[in-house]
């Protein structure tokens, strides 16, 4: 269970050391990029999750990897925590500076430094978000396919091994990284695939690139990434279908995958979620478990055939009201509920913050886990909705919570805890895409076993002997 003791006040020793370092930082960065005022630092102590705000002692805004290296070296000498910050759109408290220290706001480094159209890759700095990148690519016929809900920093997405609705077809962040520029705890600038190397694949040595993917700022700070881009699909279509119950909706997903239908997006909204969305956006849809689908193809006939096959499978599973569209406006309209899902849930409770769960289980176990979870939530009396990247067995429960209400939070944490145990029991994971951050540290041992956690701690000790890189996250201390 998550312990609030972790969020005690900032260490005053760290605070004093940081104050002492301000002149040194100003010499490296220039005065305007060293921020110490409370109102400024306040923005950097939280992300979009539910963990309380714990601002850093200083915010630095580097413009180059050399500046990042110099700052980290200084912090390492002084044993001061360093937390990298991209867009602050994480959900697991990854940037919460509960041990104080220095926050590196990387948004000034906002260039796409290379675009290699023929090789289907490009190199981006941490200030480039996924929507910014697609805007830069808009006339090239290429696009960046990893699309989590937020318009997140791509390097941040790498740090959390993010994925999105298109991952079922185009892969998660992990499958779309060729090389990383990482600054290590002692200031060393490392190129995980070698400097300027961009092979499609390689067997050269240990896979350092993957080591940093999902490391949540605890093994190094990512300052540049070579990522894959894909050709835009020439033809698209979208479809929506409701079902009498969760089991049949998920069964349809299993059928679709088994038929080798290369579905591009397949999302699930449960009944409560549909109710919220229909009320919030005044939609003409069924208040039933619903699948949202998107098809990408080489030409119009291709997507027509995919859509027709999907329709057949939906009907076979007693689908209700299968609707499809091929024009942009129509497609957006069909998907509106899915796009507004988070806001619709949050609108049910004014002033609440979002508490989101993130388990991922083998597809065969999904109907059971979702059904049991729904029963558990309903029995608890709490309000929560379910949205899922069902194609991958990953789903989120969204609870609008008031963190100050301790009794309520106990119930929520109970639901979340039982959900994780449920997922682990069927061979799944406690987090499909959001990361461990603060809230899931205690599950790592059960999920990975003592040996796994032990090895992770060994790696952490080797790469960050003074434990300055985002301390207190991912691994227990």
């Amino acid at each position: 269970m998550f312990s609030h003791n972790l969020l005690r006040s900032v260490s005053s020793a760290v605070c004093k050391k940081c104050e002492g370092l301000v002149p040194k930082f100003e010499a490296i960065f220039g005065n305007e990029y060293v921020k110490t005022t409370e109102s400024f630092r306040d923005h950097y102590g939280h992300d979009e999750g539910h963990f309380p705000n714990r601002p850093p002692d200083i915010v630095l805004m580097p413009g180059t990897v050399q500046e990042v290296s110099a700052a980290i070296r200084l912090c390492n000498e002084q044993r001061i925590p360093v937390i990298p910050y991209g867009t602050g759109t994480g959900l697991e408290g990854g940037v919460t500076a509960f041990k104080g220290g220095v926050c590196l706001d990387l948004k000034r480094m906002d260039q796409m430094t290379q675009l290699n159209e023929e090789d289907f890759d490009c190199v981006v700095q941490p200030g480039v978000t996924r929507k910014m990148l697609n805007e830069m690519l808009k006339n090239t016929g290429l696009w960046f396919t990893v699309d989590p809900g937020a318009d997140a920093s791509i390097c941040g997405m790498i740090a959390t091994q993010a994925s999105g609705t298109c991952s079922v077809r185009y892969g998660t962040m992990k499958s779309n990284v060729k090389n990383l520029e990482v600054v290590l705890a002692d200031g060393t600038i490392l190129y995980t695939r070698g400097k300027n190397r961009r092979p499609w694949k390689s067997s050269a040595g240990y896979n350092l690139t993957d080591l940093f993917i999902g490391s949540e700022g605890t093994l190094g700070v990512i300052t540049s990434a070579c990522v894959n881009v894909h050709p835009r699909p020439p033809a698209l279509s979208a479809a929506v279908c409701s079902f009498p119950d969760v089991a049949r909706a998920v069964e349809t997903v299993v059928n679709i995958r088994h038929m080798a239908l290369p579905i591009a997006r397949i999302e699930f909204l449960d009944e409560k979620q549909m109710q919220a969305c229909i009320a919030h956006s005044k939609l003409n849809m069924e208040e039933k478990p619903t699948l949202f689908m998107e098809f990408h193809g080489a030409n119009e006939r291709d997507v027509e055939e995919q859509t027709a096959l999907a329709e057949e499978l939906c009907i076979l599973n007693q689908g209700i009201r299968f609707e499809a569209a091929t024009d942009t406006v129509g497609m957006n309209q069909l998907w509106q509920a899915r796009h507004m899902a988070y806001y619709a849930t949050m609108s049910q409770r004014k002033g609440a913050r979002g508490f989101t769960t993130d388990v991922c289980v083998p597809l065969s176990q999904l109907p059971k886990v979702v059904t049991e979870t729904r029963k558990d939530i309903d029995a608890s009396g709490m309000y929560g909705t379910i949205v899922g990247h069902v194609g991958e067995g990953n789903f989120h429960c969204i609870f609008p919570v008031v963190e100050e209400d301790e009794k309520e939070m106990q119930i929520i944490w109970g639901l979340s805890d039982r959900l994780v145990k449920r997922a682990l029991a069927v061979g799944g994971t406690c987090t499909g895409e959001h990361g461990i951050g603060l809230g899931k540290i205690n599950y790592l041992k059960e999920e990975l076993g003592e040996e796994g956690v032990h090895l992770m701690k060994l790696l952490k000790k080797t790469l960050d002997p003074n434990n300055i890189l985002n301390p207190g996250k991912v691994l227990s201390e």
Binding site: K138, N139, L142, R232, T328, V329
Partner: protein
């Protein structure tokens, strides 16, 4: 119906524009450029007219230096059939005004017998919002500007809904006519790789100002280009009476 779509190469909207030290213009060297967003919308609407079999041919047009070819290739990738590049050198281009561009478009529209001239409502660099109106004036054609919806009325007329200050206005114009596109007219499609490949083979006709008998004499002179004043920091006050006093001092009350 043959449609002429004007496309302008402008500094990309996401770029932080900087003024040159000599205050004559903005920095354009090594700065990302792209097609004017309103022109993209005009092109998209023209292509949709062709897909609905109301238009037979879409021709993209641009006046500018060699780099404008990129914009024309993008237009071809997004569905234009042909392109016309009226090339001038960089120095000349600095002094080109909507007046000149409109003359060129009007001449082309008349000589090559276009039925519809479709432009963006304004360019995001100069925000002039003149070219479409000037073209209509030169040709004495009807104009429907700030279009947010375009429908055909038989083969001789178009029904256009326009965005105006008070709301929406719907008018009927007889072809040939000039239209300018507003933001909500449509959402432009992406160019896909196959279309980008195909666009490489589509023709781009080169023309010079002389070919069109174009007089590029300046009508206006830019005196100065400067940035807005930088924002100064705020200050905290202790209480409301002090706040009111300060606001009065600054002339805000």
């Amino acid at each position: 119906m043959r449609v002429l779509v004007g496309v302008k190469r402008v500094i990309d909207f996401a770029v932080k524009v900087r003024v040159k030290p000599d205050k004559t213009s903005v920095v354009t060297d090594n700065v990302p450029h792209s097609m004017n967003p309103f022109d993209e919308i005009a092109l998209e609407e023209a292509v949709k007219l062709k897909e609905a079999n109301h238009a037979k041919e879409i021709v993209a047009f641009s006046l500018g230096p060699a780099k404008n070819q990129e914009i024309l290739r993008t237009a071809l990738a997004k569905g234009a059939d042909k392109a016309i590049h009226l090339e001038v050198d960089d120095a000349t281009y600095q002094k080109v005004e909507p007046f000149h561009v409109a003359q060129a478009i009007a001449k082309l529209a008349k000589d090559e017998k276009f039925d519809l001239v479709f432009l963006g409502k304004q360019a995001i660099d100069d925000d002039a919002n003149q070219t479409g109106q000037l073209v209509a004036g030169f040709l004495n054609w009807p104009q429907a500007t700030f279009a947010s919806k375009v429908e055909t009325e038989g083969t001789s007329h178009l029904k256009v809904t326009r965005e105006i200050d008070g709301g929406l206005e719907t008018i009927k114009v007889k072809l040939p006519a000039v239209l300018t596109a507003d933001l909500r007219l449509n959402e432009p499609r992406y160019a896909t790789l196959p279309n980008i490949m195909k666009a490489k083979k589509k023709p781009i006709d080169k023309k010079t100002p002389k070919d069109l008998g174009l007089d590029l004499t300046s009508q206006t002179e830019v005196l100065e280009v400067s940035e807005p004043p930088t924002r100064k920091g705020g200050e905290f006050v202790e209480d409301v009476p002090t706040l009111v006093k300060k606001l009065k001092e600054k002339g805000a009350l």
